[in-house]
Homo-oligomer: 231 residues x 2
């Protein structure tokens, strides 16, 4: 393994994917700076999970508060219904109601500014275009365009000390993500995935995110510690 | 004049340039939504000016609070010295210390999310590549790359209801900007430009921004109401 001894800024939501990304970045030898965002999301339990995940990985962790004004119009921030019990086909049909306007762009822009301040040039984000391709800002074209932009928008970028945007899960299915994470000792019992968690963060088991997580664990031949704990 | 009857989201700092942009957008028939950002900037007087400028133009105005963490490393947010009495040559030599990491990217990303929520697809920003070309995020390549990104990052963009990023001052010199604004009855007495204002927001007259403003008014053959008021 090539150890780089540089620091990376990793977006950590408290979910399964970003916990895996944190482990992958650590495995690559980066010093970890985890960034989470408080944007008035309805499922606040996620932020508690982000704190625990970052701590378990030995990451410096910072929660950035973002004014929720730009995030109107999503079932995850407004009072709308989180869709339940959808078929796989229906999940991949169109951009879901859980889409949050410009979210990844705003978070990556903060990450870039933060990274420039601490001398990091490596941004990690756990977007995935396989299982849940509906979100526009989870697609490869978005990641590439953001990397281009950040290298035009920052002092470091234009001076040739380029940023890289790493999206190591982009082309992996959920089962592969889980297998990789388990191999790196990720404790998925610390994470939260559900769009509509119950008291204490208990997963509903019915929203798109819970369904994809359950399918991933099943295909990976592994037991989800969140589900076994609740059983 | 073609009146569009659509709304525009205009970044308004409280400075001369963005006040002019607001007037240009109004002249084009847009309903105005002005966005300002409180990112812990040292010259807080600017935000008071933004409020007054937006009000004078009849714009809906919102101040978005942004966590200052990503903005470290600038003379405008940290305790560093704002450069004074620099020659024009020295101003254009390199990226100035007043560069704020990733600022325009973060502000435009918020503007895009906000615009999507209110049904606007037109973002206006007062960047200028002529008088003060040092900032990377004031260059044409940055504006073009941001427009590309926002149309990949948002539901509206990928569904073909594209965003446009307007930077009407990009290629204008300061004198031309001032002439245009005066023709549109912009009250530059409401604006603030200085990087190191004194009590009550009095311009220092010596920082880069004050020098460029003075030169612009002189070349436009106009009197700066801020300076005449102080005299």
């Amino acid at each position: 393994m090539m150890t780089t001894h540089r620091s990376a800024v990793v977006l950590v939501s408290g979910g399964l994917d970003s916990a895996t990304v944190l482990a992958l970045a650590r495995e690559s030898g980066y010093e970890l700076h985890a960034l989470s965002f408080d944007y008035g999301q309805r499922h606040r339990h996620e932020l508690d999970c982000a704190v625990r995940v970052a701590e378990a990985m030995g990451a410096v962790h910072r929660i950035i508060t973002v004014d929720p004004a730009p995030f109107r119009g999503s079932a995850l921030t407004d009072g709308g219904e989180v869709p339940m019990d959808r078929s796989e086909e229906s999940m991949s049909e169109s951009i879901p109601d859980t889409y949050v306007p410009a979210r990844n762009m705003i978070m990556l822009a903060h990450a870039a500014g933060y990274a420039e301040g601490i001398g990091s040039r490596d941004l990690f984000i756990g977007v995935n275009a396989v299982d849940y391709s509906g979100y526009p800002d989870c697609r490869p074209a978005f990641i590439e365009a953001f990397e281009d932009l950040v290298n035009l928008a920052t002092r470091s970028g234009v001076e040739g000390d380029s940023f890289r945007v790493h999206a190591p899960l982009l082309h992996l299915d959920k089962a592969t993500i889980i297998r990789r994470g388990l191999a790196l000792q990720v404790d998925y019992g610390l994470t939260s995935t559900c769009y509509a968690p119950g008291p204490g963060g208990a997963p509903c088991g019915r929203c798109d995110a819970c369904q994809l997580r359950a399918k991933g664990f099943a295909e990976a031949g592994a037991v989800d510690p969140l589900v076994s704990a609740g059983a």
